[in-house]
């Protein structure tokens, strides 16, 4: 443990330097140096993000899009520049295609209510997959309940991959939208979303991609994917909580009416009629999360500076090492052994409940997630109630993989 952090030059990231940027990593948990492997739940924040948010409150704090005074102008510029940063990070063509939301969940609800709801009829279908997070299930169930539409689900294989043949069959003339997760939070599976979008588009069906677990782990290019909507959260990508964004093709956003009304989303209001602002502001009712937006932009700039390919290479190395070594432990079974995985290692151990593993690892200073990961249908698919999930970020090291494996040995020692 006293050995120096292995600087992962092989993958091009200076991990020691990165770790120095994250104040929260430098603390003890239960008397041991903290090993933070719960990045799929939320990541720690670099100094650059914390400083950006602090700077806003110390210098530029004002509301956006209104006051004529200096601070309001600075706040507005910072907020709208953040939109441009997100546009660039996602490879979108136009900043007006980026809508700020509270996170992935709100982004999906926006699409469900403002895009799909007006065009869906009883008997129509919404197609999602068996590995969705609850955030890409429940909004559609609510919509189905309200409209008489039907929810269809693409099954997953024993390896934790989507059954693409079934997917192609389930795309029907009644399908009004496809909702698919880019990277599964519960299994780590990277889905072939580009291919899936092509298949849907061949039948004229729009596709929403849940990118919450994809944006932190590598390059995303919405124009290359040709997705209609792409949703993600800031806090899983080193940014603040309570902020995220929806990318939507301009032609779609222009057609959509807002489902939340209020200030800052209007052109003019009388008691007879309200004219909505143009997208994206039409969908941002109320004073937005200004510090969240600029903090998120700082986080994405941080990731850009590291380089998406280097981030992917580094995390893949950790994930592969952790997977291999975990499987060497008798009784450990991987949940989700897809050919392409990112970020998360999900597993169970014979005779020991994931919650007990979580508690024991915690006392060893290793923070992981034990539970259903807000993906209960995935758990039902594999006939389990929960898994242990270790998820990696840019600041994790091979030494921390060692600590994870040592802590799992401790579980074996206690439970026999």
């Amino acid at each position: 443990m006293a050995s120096p952090v292995a600087t992962a030059t092989r993958t091009g990231l200076d991990v020691e330097q990165i770790r120095a940027d994250f104040p929260a990593l430098h603390q003890e948990a239960h008397g041991r140096p903290l090993v933070y492997l719960d990045n799929a739940a939320t990541t720690q924040k670099p100094r650059q993000v914390i400083d950006t948010v602090t700077h806003f409150y110390e210098h530029d704090c004002a509301n956006v899009h209104r006051g004529v005074h200096l601070l309001s102008q600075r706040a507005t510029v910072a907020y709208e520049s953040a939109r441009t940063t997100i546009k660039a990070h996602l490879g979108a063509a136009d900043s007006r295609e980026i809508v700020f939301t509270r996170g992935t969940t709100e982004a999906i609800n926006l699409v469900a209510q403002s895009f799909v709801r007006p065009r869906i009829e009883p008997g129509d279908e919404i197609l999602i997959t068996g590995m969705e997070h609850h955030s890409n299930i429940v909004p559609w169930q609510m919509l189905c309940e309200a409209t008489g539409a039907e929810l269809k689900v693409v099954p997953i294989t024993d390896e934790g991959e989507l059954e693409l043949d079934r997917y192609a069959e389930l795309l029907s003339h009644r399908t009004k939208i496809v909702g698919v997760v880019h990277v599964s939070n519960a299994l780590g599976t990277v889905n072939p979303v580009k291919e899936m979008i092509e298949l849907a588009h061949a039948k004229g069906i729009p596709v929403l991609v849940d990118g919450a677990q994809a944006v932190p782990h590598g390059a995303v290019d919405v124009r290359d994917l040709d997705c209609d909507f792409y949703a993600f959260s800031g806090h899983k990508a080193y940014g603040p909580t309570g902020i995220g964004a929806l990318y939507g093709k301009r032609e779609h956003l222009l057609e959509m009416v807002p489902y939340q009304g209020g200030g800052d989303m209007i052109l003019s209001v009388t008691f007879d009629e309200t004219l909505y602002a143009e997208p994206p502001h039409r969908f941002e009712a109320g004073t937005p999360n200004i510090e969240g937006a600029i903090g998120l932009a700082a986080a994405l700039e941080y990731l850009e500076a590291l380089g998406a390919d280097a981030v992917t290479a580094h995390e893949t190395e950790l994930l592969d090492a952790a997977t291999k070594r975990a499987l060497d432990i008798p009784g450990v079974r991987l949940i989700g052994a897809a050919r392409r995985r990112a970020g998360a290692l999900s597993f169970v151990m014979d005779g020991v409940h994931p919650h007990d593993i979580g508690t024991i690892l915690d006392t060893e200073g290793v923070a992981i997630r034990a539970g259903h990961h807000c993906a209960q249908p995935v758990m039902q698919r594999f006939n389990i109630s929960a898994t242990v999930r270790a998820s990696f970020g840019v600041y994790n090291t091979t030494n921390e993989v060692d600590r994870l494996i040592e802590a799992l040995a401790k579980v074996k020692e206690i439970f026999g």
Binding site: V352, H355, T359, S385, K410, I414, F415
Partner: protein, 148 residues
Amino acid sequence: MSEIKQLYQEVILDHNKQPRNCYVMDCANKSADGHNPLCGDTVKVYLRIEDGVIEEISFQGAGCAICTASTSLMTESVTGKNVEEAKNLFDEFHHMLTGVADEQGVELGKLQVFEGVREYPVRVKCATLAWHTLNAAMNSNSDPVTTE
């Protein structure tokens, strides 16, 4: 004893591995389902109560070691007790887990092994799920209870 071994005492590990009274009771006259949404664990408690006395108790389900062992030990602790006594035992048990001072002086006996759970606030619900479910069964509440 290390902090973690204080939590996972031998008695708990034993009851987790070989839970007592773990079966479906055909002649039960009361039962209830319990659910811990945090971890997805579920437990069903069966009771045969005669003249206000718990003559027989069994369960199915449970999940983590704390939950399973707590359910198993609960069944042993309340067998032969009347409903009032079982409720008092739950109160006392709950007080121990939440650090509230002992006011009633009810003997916890073997249940004392769960004292270590107090150091792990998120796990208190694992230890109390069975008791909440027992309470629901005794009250003939047919709705599933949750720890929330």
